[in-house]
């Protein structure tokens, strides 16, 4: 019978306490606090933090302005990143994203109207948050389920070929910025 060595057990939750926090200011001047683990999910923000040389000591005194994202989207993004900050790194979804089932919590979070979803995906693209991007794309992709081409045209606001041609013609007819 082997005897377990007496080593102190460090609870994971204890390690997670007192995280390094960063402040982010949205385009409409809302201030958000986000933990280091969470902010790392955004490649853009983490690169910015690294390049600005922000540390545990000066992070809260140096809020990061994000001019392309409004407060509403930033709130969703911060909630998402805090929720998923300790997720294990997942392999590329490419081969199984069709079969992947979106967790209920995330489905609820992304149950927003089309315009909000559109703006959120632009923000996610700008902040380069791969997981949130995949989840948003999954929600938008699911809208196509069992729909006819005519229904897809309405759901996704897709112009007809004739409308596309007319737009192209009017764009080529209009004078450029130089007049």
């Amino acid at each position: 019978m082997s005897v377990e060595p007496e080593v102190p057990i460090v609870q994971v939750e204890e390690v997670r306490e007192n995280p390094v926090l960063y402040k982010i200011i949205s385009s409409d001047n809302h201030v958000f606090t986000i933990s280091e683990h969470a902010v790392k999910l955004s490649k853009t923000l983490w690169d910015l933090i690294t390049n600005l040389g922000l540390t545990a000591e000066n992070a809260l005194d140096n809020p990061i302005p994000v001019e392309n994202v409004n407060g509403k989207n930033m709130e969703t993004i911060v909630q998402f990143c805090e929720r998923h900050k300790y997720d294990e790194e997942e392999p590329e979804y490419t081969n199984y994203i069709r079969e992947f089932v979106l967790p209920e919590w995330d489905r609820q979070l992304l149950s927003i109207d089309n315009e909000e979803l559109f703006q959120l995906i632009l923000a996610t693209n700008y902040l380069d948050i791969q997981k949130l991007m995949d989840y948003c794309c999954r929600v938008i992709g699911d809208m196509a389920k069992d729909k006819t081409p005519e229904e897809l045209r309405i759901i996704y606001g897709i112009p007809t070929d004739a409308e596309d041609d007319a737009l192209e013609r009017s764009a080529s007819d209009s004078p450029g910025p130089s007049g």
Binding site: T94, I97, R98, D113, N114, E115, L117, F118, I121, L122, T124, N125, M133, D134, C136, C137, R138, I140, G141, D142, M143, A144, K145, D146, K147, T148, P149, E150, L152, R153, I154, I155, Y156, G157, I158, P159, T160, D161, D164
Partner: protein, 160 residues
């Protein structure tokens, strides 16, 4: 989409999420999207869809089925029916659950449907054509199926 929601403006999204959205769709939904407009067709094509084979079953020139084997477990079947009023109508189904949609493109003849499918899945030719009944108009058949390399073999099988 909620009631009264405006459309999502899919084609206004940047390229990266746009292509990702198409990759997230079920195979038959990708195919449906490719039929919405030329821009949609190019979008779906750009996601580099692949299929294993394209088979065609010809009962008569007014009833043709195109089967696309996407994976070993997933097939899409397009039953083309010649409709005098609306042109060639396609009933598109997945063979797994039999779900699908009917769609008419007035400008599409049989060869346009075939070309669309081959383009969509980056296939240069139809793998096999099976004739279920003897043809009355061989020239018209040949004109339609110019992209199939196995017509000669099938013809031999038919008359055996």
């Amino acid at each position: 989409m909620r009631d009264g929601d405006p459309p999502l403006r899919l084609l206004c999204l940047p390229n990266t999420p746009l292509r990702r959205i198409v990759q997230c769709m079920q195979y038959i939904d990708q195919f449906a999207l490719s039929l919405v407009s030329q821009r949609c067709k190019h979008l779906v094509k750009s996601t580099d869809l692949k299929c294993l084979d394209v088979y065609v079953l010809v009962d008569s020139l007014s009833e043709i089925t195109i089967r696309i084997r996407i994976t070993d477990r997933c097939w899409i079947k397009c039953l083309l029916e010649d409709d005098q009023a609306t042109g060639v109508k396609s009933n598109v189904l997945t063979l797994r659950d039999g779900k699908g949609f009917a769609h008419s493109k007035p400008e599409y003849e049989v060869e346009h449907w075939l070309r669309h499918i081959l383009e969509m899945y980056h296939q240069s030719e139809i793998n096999t054509i099976r004739l279920l009944t003897p043809l009355r108009d061989v020239q018209s058949f040949r004109d339609t199926f110019t992209s199939c390399s196995t017509i000669r073999e099938v013809k031999v099988k038919l008359w055996n």
